[in-house]
């Protein structure tokens, strides 16, 4: 029976690439090294509700249709649309993203990724102040002070701490966890916080205050700090700043607690400045804890193909970018799109009500392996192979290192890459006909 080594897990942004998978009769029968999330993705393939066949909504009900009919119906929606929103593309391969961008360009659509409701503000922060970062191995081999800020890897990135951060051992970090100071900054005592040497509990939405206070202290202005900052006593803030300054190598891992709370991109902006200031004293970097396994890849591909990482509007024929105006939710809340493609992401579950309500009113094409709330409002549903298990392709880890995902088993389903290609061909054909 085939045993596939070094498989890449296509669940979270950690993109663990040391998974061993045993395949028997085209079924995955054994998974080694994966965390509980990864494991359930590999086995879940056979347990969860897959979308079994292409479907089109007729008289309010989704009814099975042949693949070609679904492609044709989807293409018709795109050709008749004046303002299509193409959204998602984060739990899929870079090759599919590239195809989706070309389709958006040819149809004058807007294309956006899940960053719109996740780490989009991190991109804006980088555009303000830059992104002082490193690959995860730098943390593994060097970092003696690690902060998890507004993120909870115990549950969201379960192997992160073992492979890359707190518990990992490297050339200059032979003692692993014992040689490291692990700090968690959060609004509640998460399971990650329970493992930390120091837990700093801050008031909801006050991240910017604390980062700014830390900057002030690092830059020698301790005197301006009030008695408490973000609900944290001054002495504790000063101590935290000193810990950072006196470290050999600091890494701040930050999550959606930073990007999606009050002050949004300003938090990341200030954190980037803090990292720059810290480098006057020591070595410091920051890394965003990206969720979807290839949301980083969407940003990379979009950036080299269009110049922008997200929220790209092709209505003018060339890429136009103005998050706040051209983000998926900006458009939906303005009730602007007259059609949408939702692929490899679930807008139905994760978007604000007002945005979902508009989606429910317009024709929606869904491309996904699994039924989810988006399916409930979709008009054309095209099932896809699961990338990283049933299809190969490229994905980018949270530190922007790309890896080749393997195909482990055969599938009757088309890949996202193939579906986009077929859809693009059909759209071209219809346009030529017109």
């Amino acid at each position: 029976m085939p045993v596939i080594k070094d498989a890449v897990c296509s669940l979270c942004g950690s993109l663990c690439d040391d998974i061993t998978v045993t395949v028997e009769n085209n079924k995955i029968t054994k998974i080694e090294n994966a965390c509980i999330l990864g494991h359930s993705k590999f086995v879940g393939m056979f347990e969860h509700d897959r979308i079994e066949t292409p479907m089109i909504r007729k008289d309010g009900e989704l009814v099975p249709v042949p693949y070609e009919e679904a492609i044709e119906a989807a293409a018709k929606i795109l050709v008749n649309s004046k303002r299509t929103l193409s959204y998602g593309w984060c739990s899929t391969s870079c090759e599919a993203v590239s195809g989706a961008i070309q389709l958006a360009e040819e149809t004058g659509s807007i294309i956006d990724s899940t960053a719109n409701v996740c780490h989009g503000p991190s991109a804006l922060a980088a555009q303000e102040k830059g992104s002082p970062s490193a690959t995860l191995g730098e943390i593994k081999n060097r970092a003696d002070v690690i902060i998890f800020w507004g993120c909870n890897p115990v549950h969201a990135h379960p192997r992160h701490m073992v492979r890359y951060s707190s518990f990992s051992k490297g050339l200059f970090t032979e003692k692993g966890r014992k040689g490291r100071t692990m700090i968690v900054v959060d609004v509640r005592k998460t399971d990650t916080a329970k493992l930390a040497d120091r837990y700093v509990e801050i008031e909801q939405g006050s991240d910017l205050l604390l980062v700014t206070a830390l900057r002030s202290i690092v830059n020698g202005h301790e005197d301006v700090i009030p008695k408490t900052v973000a609900g944290v006593p001054k002495a504790e803030v000063v101590e935290l700043a000193e810990t950072l300054k006196n470290a050999k190598f600091v890494c701040i891992f930050f999550g959606m607690g930073v990007t999606q709370s009050r002050s949004k991109y300003k938090n990341g902006d200030a954190m980037s400045s803090l990292i720059s200031d810290l480098n006057q004293h020591t070595k410091a970097v920051m890394i965003g804890m990206r969720g979807h396994y290839n949301v980083t890849g969407f940003g990379q591909v979009a950036t080299w193909e269009t110049g922008f990482p997200m929220a790209i509007d092709f209505a003018r024929g060339y890429p136009y970018y103005n998050p706040g105006e051209t983000g998926a939710n900006d458009l939906l809340v303005r009730e602007e799109p007259d059609a949408a493609i939702i692929a490899a992401a679930d807008a139905g579950a994760h978007f604000p009500q007002k945005a979902v309500r508009h989606l429910a009113r317009i024709p929606v094409i869904q491309i996904d392996p699994y039924a989810n709330p988006t399916t409930e409002i979709a008009d054309v549903v095209i099932p896809a192979a699961v990338v990283g298990i049933e299809a190969e392709g490229t994905a980018y880890r949270m530190d922007a290192i790309s890896l080749r995902m393997k195909k482990l088993i055969d599938s009757k389903f088309k890949t996202d890459e193939e579906i986009v290609k077929d859809l693009t061909e059909k759209v071209r054909e219809m346009k030529r006909g017109a």
Partner: protein, 572 residues
């Protein structure tokens, strides 16, 4: 069989010693041939300057440039060189385009082709991130591509040098080139990348790298020895220590001298020093900063073992990107600019910082002058490769503008007239009256590249070479570049024709076709026993220190577009 006859071209091909002579060029199936049949398509090139396709031997066009795009989206709209920058809507033939310093991949391909360039060499591929570089290569249309892989702060390299294991070192270099599908060995601020892992730098050739007990000089010599042992087509390609610091010309000359004892294994230089403009500074601080170009040029004129490229500055916005992490951090702090950094585990560092070169700044004015001084004071153009280290000194779309500086003293005087007295006191450019002719320009933009990269099929119009050809609407002898520089700039800004592998890709400055280019990489053979011994060492690195597995580290074949494997035989 496709045949083309280019008739009555005014050919300038330094590789054959042809200096603007009227002749015909025959093309069959993508190659230049002796003759073609009567069925050949005829292109009349009468009155037009015809050269081999341009070859940018040092440009940042895939990989790290994406960080530049990402952090500086305002570059997308910049249209400082109309026709070659800014936002352009998609057409039936072309994808949508944006950008000036950091154009999207499609724009890079189209715009180089419009300038008559057909081959580019990406200047820095981190081994671990090499897949990314090749993904971008795939989306750059038309051009042939290659890249240089980074080895200058690599743990395994430093350990082999420290432990005096030259054979294993060579085997590792061969493996690294294969893993990253690179063409040559790039060394950036040797040892400095590792020091930057701790927020530090190395201060010169003999400053030991923290924890590794080797000096930058030892890294350079070790890698040069491995490079020659493997008989690689290119020499080591060096970004010297102390880049961007006043007084660094001394380190640069010291580095060049170090290589006098390196014997090249092929008919080429033993050292290429890159973007020397940034490494030819005299003075002791930014206050008494002045040109160091005369000293560097003086040394280069007496040396016959090396080549270099300029890193010419273009006034206006630029995007700096380099594996020299500490330099970028220093830039960002000094200029209060945004700062991106990406250190690569076990291998190197990198940083990206936008900046603006202003003719009003005396430092920037002197930097601008230094690039030109180097080009003009070094007598032999075969030692010089023209670059702006795009987009570090400025975007490649400014090459035609820069050519006018090289070809016209009057044009230079015009620019210089805007400089402050302080700037003028710190440069020697105003006293230089040399003006390059088209032949010398062809050497610096084509012929040197062909020679220094051992690519005989590129950068010349010999029978058997690739039919990569640029035809410009300008006739040497009828146009005086020293006074009619506007005509020179116009002609070089939009080729009358660019041929890529015998196909017309540009006509009258517009894109005609967008074929896919080739990717060149080097596969150096190493004896099996040495390779096996080396593999054991790197297996340990992967087991203990890397965060990706060895199997997932190697760039897979599927990422290479039209790959051309250049084999070499290591001497052990």
């Amino acid at each position: 069989m496709s045949e083309i006859l280019i008739k009555n071209a005014s050919v300038c091909d330094p590789a054959q010693g042809i200096n603007c002579e009227t002749m015909d060029i025959c093309i069959r199936d993508g190659k230049i041939v002796d003759s073609v049949s009567e069925n050949a398509k005829v292109i009349d090139a009468e009155g037009k300057l015809t050269m081999a396709g341009g070859f940018d031997g040092h440009t940042h066009s895939a990989g790290k440039i994406n960080v530049g795009r990402f952090m500086n989206p305002n570059d997308a709209k910049k249209n400082l060189v109309p026709g070659l920058s800014g936002q352009v809507a998609r057409t039936e033939k072309t994808r949508a385009q944006v950008g000036y310093n950091t154009p999207n991949t499609y724009a890079i391909g189209y715009r180089y082709a419009k300038l008559g360039y057909t081959t580019i060499c990406e200047a820095a591929i981190p081994l671990l991130a090499a897949r990314h570089t090749h993904e971008e290569f795939k989306e750059i249309p038309i051009l042939d591509k290659m890249g240089l892989s980074l080895f200058g702060s690599n743990w395994q390299v430093m350990e082999y040098i420290r432990d005096k294991e030259p054979e294993k070192l060579a085997a590792y270099i061969a493996w690294g080139l294969k893993a990253s599908r690179g063409y040559g060995v790039k060394i950036v601020n040797p040892g400095g990348g590792e020091a930057w892992g701790w927020g530090k730098n190395v201060s010169g050739l003999y400053d030991p790298v923290p924890n590794f007990d080797v000096t930058p000089a030892e890294i350079l010599m070790g890698l040069a020895e491995a490079n020659e042992r493997l008989q690689l087509p290119h020499s080591v390609h060096v970004h010297c220590n102390n880049l961007g610091k006043p007084g660094n010309y001394a380190t640069t000359i010291e580095t060049m001298k170090l290589f006098e004892k390196v014997k090249p294994s092929r008919d080429r230089q033993s050292l290429h020093v890159t973007h020397v403009q940034f490494n030819a500074y005299a003075g002791t601080s930014w206050r008494d900063f002045e040109t160091g170009a005369p000293m560097v040029a003086d040394y280069v004129n007496g040396a016959d073992h090396m080549t270099f490229d300029l890193g010419q500055v273009i006034f206006g916005p630029a995007m700096t990107m380099t594996a020299d992490g500490p330099v970028e951090y220093a830039n960002a702090r000094m200029l209060h600019e945004k700062w991106s950094n990406q250190d690569i585990e076990l291998e190197d560092a990198s940083g990206v910082v936008p900046l603006f070169y202003s003719p009003k700044s005396f430092v920037n004015a002197v930097q601008w002058a230094i690039g030109l001084e180097l080009a003009l004071l070094v007598k032999d153009p075969w030692k010089v490769m023209f670059t702006t280290d795009s987009p570090n000194g400025g975007s490649f779309v400014n090459y035609p503008e820069a050519f006018t500086y090289l070809m016209s003293e009057k044009r230079r005087a015009e620019v210089i007239s805007g400089f402050s007295k302080m700037a003028l006191d710190r440069m020697v450019l105003p006293g230089i009256d040399r003006e390059l002719d088209f032949y010398e320009l062809a050497v610096m933009t084509r012929s040197t590249q062909s020679k220094m990269y051992s690519m005989p099929e590129k950068g010349n119009l010999k029978v058997g070479s690739d039919a990569d050809i640029a035809i410009y609407d300008i006739l040497p002898g009828h146009v005086d570049p020293s006074t009619e520089y506007a005509k020179v700039k116009k002609a070089f800004s939009g080729a009358a024709y660019t041929f890529k592998n015998g196909e017309i890709v540009v006509k009258d400055g517009e894109i005609e076709e967008t074929p896919k280019g080739k990717t060149y990489w080097v596969n150096a053979k190493v004896p099996e026993n040495i390779d096996t011994a080396m593999q054991k060492d790197i297996d340990r690195k992967f087991r203990k220190y890397y965060t990706v597995s060895k199997a997932n580290y190697m760039v897979e074949d599927m990422y290479l577009q039209k790959p051309v494997e250049i084999g070499t035989e290591g001497v052990f």
